[in-house]
Amino acid sequence: MARPVRSTVIAPVIAGVLAVSAIAVAGTIGQHGSITGQPAKRHLAIHGHVRHLMPGRPKILRVHVRNPLGASVAVYQLRAVVRTGRGRRGACPAQVIHIRTWKGFRKVAASSRRTFRLRIRLRKRAPDRCQGARWTIHYHARSVRL
């Protein structure tokens, strides 16, 4: 005869499953319960660019964060990842660009937009082939709903 599983193992599992289910149901109602039937957007939209970077001279990169959600959020981290650039003289490594990650706590109201200022710098000893080069930047934001 198999030994019965101890209640100390079963009970937490049941409680956990119940909790997850309850929250998932609540979340589903909150996210997809719109009258129009359109799926609710769940991500912030981010864009921003800067031009005329000079070697060794920092500039401010204005990054616009749009909140399409139905609730306010507080952004607490905004990170930028640079991809290899390309110009008339060929490829230019991403390492010559440095963008400082923004950290703080800034509210972005529902269906509104806010601008974040990131410090960007082209390395002083960037190769000549980087003149006029263009790099793609990928932004990643972390936020919490208020």
């Binding site: 929250i23 230019c92 932004y139 919490v144």
Partner: protein, 161 residues
């Protein structure tokens, strides 16, 4: 049918773990990430130029001898530049065809290892290099070069500073 009775310890542990799990899931649910793209573009450097300093030259050049090179550099860029090399790209011209045909004026050797600071959008100080320019003997003696000032085309090499 008999039901197994949960112990007190099991109930407390269950509640604690349940709340912990629910809290974790709730936090995960209520966070909102975001992503997007943009671009950064570097400026292109504008070429350095020279400033006319012919008025400050000294008349020390003669056929078979060497003379002083004077140069002042203009930087049109929005960042400072340090010029490290000056090299001639041709012979000097005086504006007098007879003189230019009779005698050749050129730099003795490229100037390297320099450190001339040129501020952003400004001019360097007037640089003076003794014995940097030479005048060779022409095929025939020609006095038309006397008192003339020669312009020598140069290339400038520098780095941003």
């Amino acid at each position: 049918m008999t039901f197994r009775k949960f112990s007190k310890r099991a109930i407390i542990t269950s509640l604690f773990l349940g709340i912990l799990l629910a809290g974790s899931v709730a936090f995960a649910w209520w966070t909102a990430g975001g992503s997007g793209t943009g671009y950064a573009k570097a400026a292109s450097a504008s070429p350095l130029t020279t400033v006319d300093v012919s008025a400050s030259t000294t008349a020390d050049l003669y056929p078979g001898g060497t003379g002083t090179l004077k140069i002042q550099i203009h930087n049109p860029n929005t960042y400072a530049v340090t010029v490290t090399d000056i090299a001639a790209t041709g012979n000097g011209t005086s504006g007098n065809p007879a003189c230019d045909a009779a005698n050749t004026v050129s730099m003795v050797a490229p100037l390297t290892g320099l450190s001339i600071s040129v501020p952003a959008g400004g001019n360097s100080t007037v640089q003076t290099y003794s014995n940097a320019v030479g005048m060779n003997y022409g095929a025939a003696a020609d006095n038309s070069c006397q008192g003339k000032t020669f312009s020598i085309p140069v290339t400038l090499t520098g780095v941003n500073s």
